[in-house]
Symmetry: C2
Subunit: 492 residues, 2 copies
C-alpha cells in the first residue's frame, strides 16, 4: 500500500504485474516460473472452481483423480501429443536423495536410486487417463465416460508471468469417452457453450466462440473449440478450449468397445480445460488505475463496511447498526466484511478495498446514523450514493446486479469496438499496431499464410468464429479465394 | 459384481483390497505406487474435503497454493525434516525430452536440459512455505498467519496399498505462524480437537487423542499431536496429526518479526494435515462382508430407490410416486438416487448398493403402492422395515441419524474392548498376537525400550493419550519406573 500502482495507460504490463502483487493475489516463488497463489487470489479461484464444478456436475460429469506422473512410454504413445509437450516437460529421474559425502549438511541425488523408466510430471493427462480407460471400457454399456479432474499441471515455459503463463498451474481437465463421433462432437460443443456461460455470466467477460486453425490446435486433437477474450490492451487471451480428439487416443492406447450390434470399434474422445490463467483474464478485463475490479458473482467479499468514528463509544454505536445489516445481508447469501480494525485510518482502508476490487464499499459515521443513512461507493464506477439504512438490503442486491451487468456491457462495448474488418495487408498491419484488438480478415486457409502473417506481425489466428456467416472474399495476405473471415490478434 | 468379495474374517487384507476395487473407489495405475481415485471414491473424498474446509474456515483459516516443487537447497535447510524425507523423494532433474536419435518415435531425456538445481516434488511443504513466509512477516502485525493448502504430495514409499500408503496422495496441510509459543501450541491443540470432531462426527470413527513419542514425531517437529483410530483387524491407524514446530523452521529460514515492544524474535509455527488415507480408515472402520458401509454424513448417495416392476406402465406409476418423494427429500438436503435402469434386475442393484455402502435402500413395487407403503433397508444392520409412504421423509431423516450414531457406537464399543491394560511383557506379546488392538502399558520413556519392543513385536507407541491420568508403575519391558501408560499397537 506504500507504493502507488503504475497507471494502466502508462505501462500495461507493469500495471498488471504490480496489481497482481499489490492486490495480494499472487507472487513469484523461490521456484523458477512457479507462483504462490495468496489467500485473496485463491479465494477468487475457489469461487471460479465452485461455479464451474456446479456446471460440470449439472451436465452429468463426475470428478476423479489420476496420477501426477506419466511414465515416458505412455507419454510418447500418442505421437502428436507427445511432440507438442516434450519440449517443456519436468522429468523425474530419481526417487531418493542422500547425504553429500563431502558435506553432510547437504543432500545430493542418490545415483543408485535412478528410476528404470523416467516419469513426466503431467503437462496434461490424456495419456495416463486413456491408459486407464482401456481397462474401464469393454462394451457400449460402459459409455459414455464423463470425467473431470481438478489438478496441477507443469509445463516448463521459458518466459513466465503470474497467472498468465507459469511453469506449474492449476486447472480442470475433462476427459470423455463416447461410442460415436457425433456424441463426442456434441460433448465438445456442450463444454464450449458451458465455458461461454461461465466467462460471460460469472467473469463478466465477453468471448468470441469458434474453432482454432490447425496450427493453433491442441496437440493430438482433430478440432479445437475455443473461447477468446480481449484484454484492455488489445491483446487476445485464449480463455477455454474443448478438443474433439477423434479416435487418436483410443487408437494410441488400443481402447475398443463392442457395439450394440456386436461389432468392435475404437472409442471417440473429447478433452477440455480452463486454468488459473483465467485469473489473469479476469484482472485484465476489468481493472483500472485504482486496482482490481471484481464482478460481484466472483468476489470473495461483495460488500465491505468501514466505520468512521472517534473513540470506542462511537464505534460501538456503529457496530450495533452494522451487525443488523450484516445479519440480513448474510441471510441473503451476500458475502460481507466489517473492517473495524482500529489501527488503520478509513482512507487507508478505502484504498485497500479499491485495490482489492471489492464491488461495494459502505462508509458509516455518527452523522450518517443520525440521518439514518449510509454512504455506498461502487467500485466499478467509483460513484457514491447516500442510501437510507432501511433500504440497504434491497439497494445492495440491485447494485450488485447492476455492477455485474455494467462490467459485462463495458467489456462488450470495448470488444465490439476492437473487432476491425480489414481487406488489405497494409490495413491489417496498421490496425494491429495502432488500434490493436481483433482483426477480422479473409484467410486462404493455409498454414503457410498463417505463418507468414505471424512472422511479419506477431498476430496469430485466434479463432474462426461461429458467429460470422460465410462470406466470399480474398485472403488479406495471399489474395487467394477465401470463404470466411477469421480473427487475428496478438495474444497472451 | 461378477466376483464375490472375500470374507473379512477369512483374509482382512485381501477383503480390503478387493472391496476398494469392487466398490469402485480406487485402483492401481500404470505408475508404480500411484492410484487412480475413481468417481465414487472421489465423491466421498469431496464430502470429506468440504466438511474439513468448512471447519478450517470457521476457525479463521484461509486457503492458498504453494509450488509443487522444492529446490534442493531449500529442502535441506531444516535438517531433521530433510533427513526424514530425503529417502523417499521424487526428484526432477531435467526439463525437456527430445526425440531418440536411434528411434524417432521414442523420446529420451534431453541431456542438455539438465536443471542447475534439482527440484524435489513436495513430500510436505514446510520448506517452500517458510521460504515464502520470510517475505510476508516483518512485524507482529503480520501475525498470525493461518493458511491451509489442499494439494497432492509425493513420498516414494516402497510398499504401497490403495489409500493407505501410496506414492502420490491427496491431502490438506495447514501451516501457521505465530508471535508466541503459547499461541502456536494453542493452534496445534485446536486442530487436534477439530480432527477429533471430524473423525467422530462425520466419519463415525472413534479416536484416541494424544501425543506421539519422540521417535514417531514428524521430522522437524517439537511435539506431534495425533488422533489414532483402531481398525477392525486390531491394527491402529494414524488418522490426523498436528505438529508444534517450535522455531525450527523460522530459524532454518531466518524468519523474524519485530515484537510490540520493539524486539526481534523468531516466529513460532505449527503444521497439520490429514490425507486421502482417511478413505482407508473409513472403509476399515465400518465395512463388512457385503462391502462398504458409509456413515450418512459422508455418503455421496444417502438414499437409493430401486423400483420393482414389470412393464412400462408399472414403472411409470412407481416413478410418479418416487418423483414426489425425491422432491421432498432433496428439499431437505438428502442426497438421493433413483435407479430406474431397465437392463438390470433389482437383485443386482441391491447387491451393487450394498457393495457401495449406500446407507438406506428403498424398494418399491406395485403391491407396496396399493398399500401405500415402501420397504426400507438399512445398510448398517441389513434390517428391513415397511414404512407408510406418508411418513417416509421423517422416517428417512431419523434413520440416517440412527445409522450415523449406530456406526459410531459400534466402532466405539469395538475400540473400547480392544484397549487392554497389561503389566508384563509376556502378556503384552500374547495380547498383541491373539487379541490385537491397543495395548496399554507402562513405558520407561526411552527410545531404546521403544525400539526393542518394536523389534520383538512390530508394535509401536501409537499415542501417549491425554485421557489417561498419570499413574505410577513400572515399564512393561525394562521394569524401570514410569508415570503413565501409553498405547502400543501394530499399525497401518
Amino acid at each position: 500500500m506504500e507504493k502507488k500502482l503504475t497507471k494502466r495507460s502508462e505501462d500495461y504490463s507493469k500495471w498488471y504485474n504490480e496489481l497482481v502483487v499489490m492486490a495480494d493475489l499472487a507472487e513469484n516463488s523461490a521456484v523458477r516460473g512457479c507462483m504462490v497463489i495468496k489467500p485473496y487470489g485463491y479465494a477468487i479461484w475457489e469461487k471460479m472452481q465452485s461455479e464451474l464444478d456446479r456446471m460440470f456436475k449439472a451436465t452429468g460429469h463426475q470428478n476423479a483423480y489420476f496420477p501426477l506422473f506419466v511414465p515416458k512410454s505412455l507419454f510418447e504413445a500418442e505421437e502428436k501429443n507427445a511432440e507438442g509437450f516434450a519440449k517443456e516437460c519436468a522429468v523425474v529421474t530419481h526417487y531418493r536423495l542422500k547425504a553429500d559425502p563431502e558435506n553432510s549438511s547437504k543432500l545430493i541425488v542418490d545415483p543408485e536410486a535412478k528410476l528404470e523408466e523416467e516419469l513426466v510430471v503431467r503437462p496434461t493427462s490424456e495419456a495416463i487417463i486413456w491408459k486407464t480407460y482401456k481397462n474401464w471400457i469393454q462394451s457400449y454399456r460402459d459409455l459414455p465416460i464423463l470425467i473431470n479432474q481438478w489438478a496441477n499441471v507443469v509445463r516448463w515455459e521459458m518466459r513466465t508471468r503470474l497467472f498468465l503463463r507459469t511453469a506449474e498451474f492449476l486447472w480442470q481437465e475433462g476427459h470423455t469417452a463416447h461410442a460415436t463421433k457425433e456424441e463426442a462432437l456434441k460433448e465438445t460443443k456442450l463444454i464450449n457453450e458451458l465455458y461461454v456461460d461461465f466467462a460471460e455470466n460469472f467473469m463478466a467477460m465477453p468471448v468470441v466462440q469458434g474453432l482454432k486453425s490447425e496450427s493453433e490446435r491442441f496437440a493430438g486433437a482433430e478440432q479445437t473449440y475455443c473461447i477468446e477474450a480481449l484484454m484492455q490492451d488489445g491483446k487476445a487471451l485464449q480463455a477455454g478450449t474443448s478438443h474433439f480428439l477423434g479416435q487418436n487416443f483410443s487408437k494410441a492406447f488400443d481402447v475398443k468397445f463392442t457395439t450394440q450390434s456386436g461389432g468392435l470399434e475404437h472409442v471417440w474422445a473429447s478433452s477440455w480445460g480452463v486454468s488459473s490463467r483465467l485469473m489473469g483474464a479476469l484482472i485484465m478485463t476489468h481493472s483500472d488505475d485504482q486496482g482490481l475490479i471484481l464482478p460481484p458473482n466472483l468476489a470473495p467479499i461483495q460488500v465491505v463496511i468501514v466505520p468512521i468514528y472517534k473513540g470506542v463509544e462511537q464505534l460501538e454505536t456503529i457496530s450495533k447498526v452494522v451487525n443488523k445489516i450484516k445479519k440480513e445481508l448474510t441471510s441473503h447469501g451476500i458475502s460481507f466484511k466489517y473492517d473495524d480494525r482500529d489501527n488503520l485510518k478509513p482512507g487507508y482502508k478505502f484504498n485497500e478495498y479499491e485495490l482489492k476490487g471489492v464491488p461495494i464499499r459502505i462508509a458509516i459515521g455518527p452523522r450518517d446514523l443520525e440521518n439514518n443513512v449510509l454512504e455506498l461507493a461502487r467500485r466499478d464506477t467509483l460513484e457514491k450514493t447516500i442510501v437510507p439504512i432501511k433500504d440497504i438490503n434491497k439497494y445492495i442486491k440491485s447494485t450488485l446486479e447492476e455492477i455485474q451487468k455494467n462490467l459485462f456491457d463495458k467489456a462488450y462495448k470495448f470488444r465490439e469496438e476492437h473487432i476491425t474488418e480489414v481487406d488489405t495487408f497494409d490495413k491489417f498491419k496498421s490496425v494491429l499496431s495502432v488500434k490493436g484488438g481483433f482483426v477480422s480478415a479473409h484467410w486462404d486457409g493455409t498454414i503457410e499464410t498463417e505463418q507468414a502473417i505471424k512472422k511479419q506481425t506477431k498476430a496469430t489466428i485466434r479463432c474462426i468464429p461461429f458467429s460470422d456467416k460465410h462470406r466470399e472474399g480474398n485472403c488479406v495476405y495471399s489474395g487467394k479465394p477465401s470463404s470466411q473471415r477469421v480473427l487475428f490478434a496478438k495474444a497472451y
